[in-house]
Point group: C2
Chain length 328, copies 2
């Protein structure tokens, strides 16, 4: 991989592990290497411009590495947001983009707000509410919000759980914390195994059995922002593991000003922290807070990788003649 | 109220009842009339421009009627979206804006996508996940998505339920369909009464007990888009019932084109409808479908108003010397 792309992908993957998102960090590297070997991840050149409006760009990502494409899109969108108020980049045919939470600090450090959402038209594990047949990927929505002190980083799938977690728990023989899946007959379950048995079960939309219509609605919104605006998705032939990306940068300076923005986000953050905990000793946190604190510690003390990650990379290290780092 | 504002407010309220959103239709009219009488809803003039960037406008709504302000904002945002790709209008100090779902058809009929979110900094009934003290209103997010045939209209609160429903069920002595609230000690409950007893309970974020961190994250996103960008909200003195509004129009023609957009949204809609129902006889629907079909029927056969609405308006009809319409 050319050095700039390698640096972008490595940086975003390690950022995932630093923040504790262990299903979306180096856990993905083996899969990415397999895709490069198979020729289904492209390495050279840049995206093609599909459309270009003053505040909106549409790219064909040509199956280039997702983290690199998203960082390019972030730069383009930030430049437009500074002139226009908002800047939006939609990317069809990106390869997988890793952890959405890993990108936000690069926007919030500049006083910009970032909204990032994606879907993968090549896969489906989430059924529409009330249905048995899957239509959606977990279609995450994430946002980076500049706030005084630590930025707020929201990163939520619009489904009850993710493919990353159900795959891992199934492999490890674990159970989900609640009935986040249904089996192939529609029966709720906390066993990720129902996704792997015939007739295949599905992941419920966010909100689960009593409020899944809400997650379903949000999944449809993400499909429209990604596949709809990109003009490429579930109506097209499958091309393999990838992502369709919606990225929007909003410049608070173009609205009521960054100081006014942070005055409000700071007050909301203060009120959240001041809310008495419903369980003694478990103080209310802001989204991203735990990840940023963990990242700061792990940057000095070393990154704790989830079990199996180094082992899964050992054959690749051997094949590519790279010395795997020793653990600290 | 001047005729243009009266027409806007009446149109949006009746649209709510037509679509079956009976807590956000004419149910609100008595409250609006009280606010006019008290001088807390303004009737004359227009919004003040706080900031103006090519793709982003910020208004002070001067506590003018919300439905009228939102329709003005929709027009301004649509005009900018056609030139820039997207157009965003943020409004501080709007009065209440009624049902978000009532606005979308006016955008989707023009082939435009609309995202609408709001919060009310004057009230708080939803606690951050893991907390006892409320910080948020139900902070809804809604979207209108042009699709072949009926538009898709998503309208979801980022809380487990709404003030409208809990107020009504409490008054009627009813229960919620699931444990969407917690009492003042953090105990989950389906009794809306816990919101009215000391120590006061709160509405859970969307996702409830096992996934409420997701709704909490989305509530924070809505606070940033509304109070943050508007530079007015929870850090300021309360002014009474109102709304801070984020409205964004996205023009698919500026991305990959409206035909390509509808090809994808049409295919996703088709797949949802084709998903076998998990409960026999209960076909999968798209968000907005039930509302649009009900509206079409009620437009010809008459609108069924929720019990108590006409009775609550009778004293106002008498006071304002208006003949209330007879039921059909």
């Amino acid at each position: 991989m050319p050095a700039d792309k390698a640096e972008a992908v490595a940086g975003i993957l390690v950022e995932g592990d630093l923040m504790g998102h262990t299903t979306h960090g180096l856990h993905l590297l083996g899969g990415y290497l397999r895709e490069i070997e198979a020729g289904t991840m492209q390495l050279h050149g840049g995206p093609e411009v599909v459309a270009d409006a003053p505040a909106a760009l549409t790219w064909d990502g040509r199956r280039l590495p997702g983290p690199w494409l998203v960082l390019q899109a972030l730069e383009a969108a930030a430049e437009r947001a500074r002139r226009m108020g908002t800047g939006t980049v939609v990317i069809r045919r990106s390869h997988h983009i890793a952890s959405l939470a890993s990108f936000h600090k690069r926007a919030t450090d500049q006083g910009l707000m970032l909204i990032l959402a994606c879907s993968d038209p090549n896969a489906a594990s989430v059924a529409p509410f009330g249905g048995l047949d899957p239509v959606f990927t977990p279609n995450p929505v994430s946002a980076g919000i500049p706030a005084p002190g630590l930025a707020v980083v929201v990163d939520v799938s619009t489904s009850a759980t993710t493919n990353g977690l159900t795959n891992r728990l199934h492999a490890e023989g674990g159970k989900l914390p609640a009935a986040w899946v249904i089996d192939g007959h529609g029966k709720p379950s906390d066993d990720p195994g129902v996704l792997f048995k015939e007739p295949k079960g599905t992941i419920l939309p966010l909100g689960g059995l009593d409020s899944g219509h809400k997650g379903y609605g949000l999944s449809l919104l993400v499909e429209a922002l990604t596949g709809g605006l990109a003009g490429h998705g579930r109506a097209d032939p499958k091309e393999g593991w990838g992502a369709t990306v919606f990225l929007q940068v909003i410049d608070p300076a173009a609205f009521a000003g960054l100081a006014a923005f942070q005055r409000q986000t700071g007050e909301v953050a203060r009120q959240c922290h001041a809310s008495r905990p419903s369980q003694e000793g478990r103080a209310v946190r802001l989204p991203g807070e735990k990840g940023f604190k963990l990242a700061a510690t792990q940057r000095t003390e070393g990154v704790a990788l989830h079990a199996g990650i180094m082992e899964s990379l050992a054959p690749w290290a051997q094949k590519l003649k790279v010395n795997p780092p020793a653990s600290r």
